[in-house]
Point group: C2
Chain length 315, copies 2
C-alpha cells in the first residue's frame, strides 16, 4: 500500500499546499481510502491518477473545516460522474459528522445516487476498532485537540510473503496465467521445456504493515499506543519548536513533539504534515523556513520526511 498526500497545509490553503487530505491506496486491490477531506480535495484528486470511483472509505479526524469542507463536494461529484452503480462509501468520524453531512446535503438538495454509510465513533470511547475484515483492521484513538479528534491506524492482519514478479520477468517467464500458477506454489513447464517451481518465486515473510495518521493534536499519550512499531506515522506539525507556546495554546504539535512521538513509539518512518502557512517563504510571516522544520525534527528522529502535496510514500 502507499499514501499520497493531497493536502499538507494547516488551517488554510497556500499556492503550494492545499488543506488536509491523504489518500491511502491499496496498490493491488484497486481501492482508495481517504484520511480527512479539506476543501479542494476533489480537485487535488483530479491532478493524480486516483479515481473517486474506487473510493471505499473516508476517515475524518475531527470536524474543523480545513479537514472537512471538501467532503460534500467530493461525494456529489462522485455521484455525477459515476451514478448509482458504484460501490458504497463508508465514512467514519466524530459525533456531529452525520448531522453536518445530512444538513448540508439536505439544504443544498444534493442527491447522492450511491450508498453512503456513516459510522460515528461513540463519544464516550477513547480507543477501539472502527472497522475490520479478514485482511485489514482500522483502529482509532482519541487525541489531544480543542475539539473531539481522533487518530487512525490501518494494519494488515497477517504477516505475508509476496510473489517475486521481478525475478520471473528476469527469467523471461511470459506474464499471464503462469504467474498465478507459480504464486500458488505449483510447478510450470514452458513450451520450450524450461521448468520452474512456485517455491522459488516466494519472498521472505514480511510482517503485516501498519500506518498511522493523527489529524490535529498536541502531544498525546494515547497516540504512542496506537503508533507503537508502525511502519509509518503521519504526524501533524503545525509549528516550529521555536513556537512551542503557540502550539500549546492551539492544541497543535511542534516538530519536536512529532519527532518525540515517533521515537517513543519506535516507528520506522515519520512524515510531517499540516504545516502552517507562516513558514511558506512567500508569505514572510516568519524567519523560520520549512527546511528548518525538517532539521528540528530530524535532530530528534532522523527518519523524518516533510510532506509536500502529491508526495507518494510506499509502505
Amino acid at each position: 500500500m502507499k499514501v499520497i498526500f493531497l493536502g499538507t497545509s494547516s488551517g488554510m490553503p497556500t499556492l503550494k499546499r492545499n488543506v488536509s487530505s491523504i489518500a491511502l491506496v491499496f496498490t493491488n486491490k484497486n481501492k482508495l481510502w481517504l484520511w480527512d477531506c479539506g476543501e479542494g480535495t476533489q480537485q487535488q484528486i483530479q491532478k493524480t491518477s486516483l479515481k473517486v470511483s474506487k473510493l471505499e472509505k473516508i476517515f475524518i479526524s475531527h470536524l474543523h473545516g480545513d479537514h472537512l469542507f471538501g467532503l460534500p463536494g467530493l461525494l456529489a461529484s462522485r455521484g455525477l460522474r459515476g451514478g448509482k452503480n458504484q460501490q458504497k462509501v463508508q465514512i467514519f468520524g466524530p459525533e456531529g459528522l452525520d448531522k453536518y453531512l445530512k444538513e448540508t446535503l439536505n439544504i443544498t438538495k444534493t442527491y447522492i445516487p450511491y450508498e453512503i454509510e456513516i459510522k460515528i465513533i461513540p463519544p464516550n470511547l477513547s480507543a477501539g476498532v472502527i472497522w475490520e475484515d479478514e485482511e485489514y483492521i482500522a483502529r482509532y484513538t482519541e487525541v489531544n485537540h480543542n475539539i473531539k479528534a481522533y487518530a487512525y491506524s490501518v494494519e494488515e492482519k497477517k504477516d505475508r510473503s509476496h510473489f517475486l514478479v521481478d525475478k520471473a520477468r528476469r527469467l523471461n517467464i511470459p506474464p499471464g496465467p503462469i504467474y498465478r500458477t507459480l504464486k500458488e506454489g505449483e510447478t510450470v513447464e514452458l513450451p520450450n521445456g524450461r521448468i520452474f517451481q512456485g517455491k522459488d518465486f516466494v519472498s521472505e515473510i514480511r510482517k503485516g504493515r501498519k500506518v498511522v495518521f493523527c489529524g490535529d493534536t498536541a502531544y498525546c499519550e494515547n497516540l504512542l499506543h496506537l503508533a507503537k512499531g508502525a511502519d509509518l506515522l503521519i504526524h501533524e506539525t503545525t509549528f516550529s519548536q521555536q513556537e512551542e507556546d503557540l502550539a500549546k495554546r492551539n492544541f497543535h504539535s511542534t516538530t519536536t513533539i512529532a519527532a518525540r512521538v515517533a521515537k517513543e513509539a519506535q516507528v520506522k518512518q515519520l512524515i510531517l504534515t499540516h504545516i502552517s502557512p507562516r513558514y511558506n517563504s512567500n508569505t514572510n510571516k516568519s524567519a523560520i523556513t520549512e527546511s528548518d522544520l525538517l532539521v528540528e525534527a530530524q535532530s530528534v528522529f532522523p527518519e523524518t520526511i516533510l510532506a509536500e502535496d502529491f508526495m507518494e510514500y510506499e509502505i
Copy 2:
C-alpha cells in the same frame, strides 16, 4: 469595473474549469464582490491578484453545492488571514442560505472574527432591489431552475464622465494632488508656469454601466427585464443546442437560449459560462466541443465570448 471568472464549469470541476464563481472588481474602489462561491473559490482567488480582505459582498444565485460549497472555507480563511479588523461581509441569497452557513460554522466550530450580515431574499417576491447606495444598485429576479434561484444585476446609478488620466500624463502633468484639483474642474498652474483647465480633462458623459449574472436557469422571461440594455450579460450555458432536451429536463440553458436572451434583452456583450464537463475534449463524452458551443451562440448573437477560468472582462 471588471469581472474575473474564477470558476466556469457546471456541476463539478475539471482540470481546466473550477465550479462557479465570478469576481466583480471595482477598479478604482479597492473592493471586491463575488457572485457564487463553489468549492475551491478561495484557492482560485489565491492564483489571482485579488485579496479576500477587500471582499465586501457575496451574491449567491441558488443553493446547489457547485455554487456554494466554497463559502464556509473562504469566510474562515479570511478570518485566519486578516483577523477581526476587517470590513464586514454582506451575503445575499435564497431562503436556507442562513441556515446552511449557521449550521456549518456551528458544527465545525468555525469562528469568524469579523462581522457577517446575511440578507435573505423574501421567497414570496420574484424581483426587487437587494442593495443600493448612492452610486450603485443591485437587483434580483427569480429565474427558472429546479430550486429557488435568482439572477442579479449591478448598475451604476448615475451617468458619469471620468478624468482623462492618459491625456494628463501625455502632457507631462505630474501625478498627485494636481490630478484631483483638475478632476474637480479647477485651474492649476505648474511651477514652470504652464496653466491647465479642469474642463479639458473630462471625458464625454457615459451611461451608468450595468452587468447581469444569471446563475442556473432555463429560458426565463424575468431575466429579459433584468438584463434589458445591459453592458454585459453573463449567462449559463450548460448544454449545446444539440442537447436541448437534456437542458430542458435539467432546467438549464443551451447556447441558443443564452444567445436569444442576449438578443431579446439587447445587451452589448454576452459571456457564456457554467459549461458542462462533457464538452471537455479530455473526457470524450461528447463529439461536440467547446468551440462548437461558441459557434452555436454566435450564430444567434455575434457579440458572444466563451468564458475561461481567470478570464477578465472590463465593463
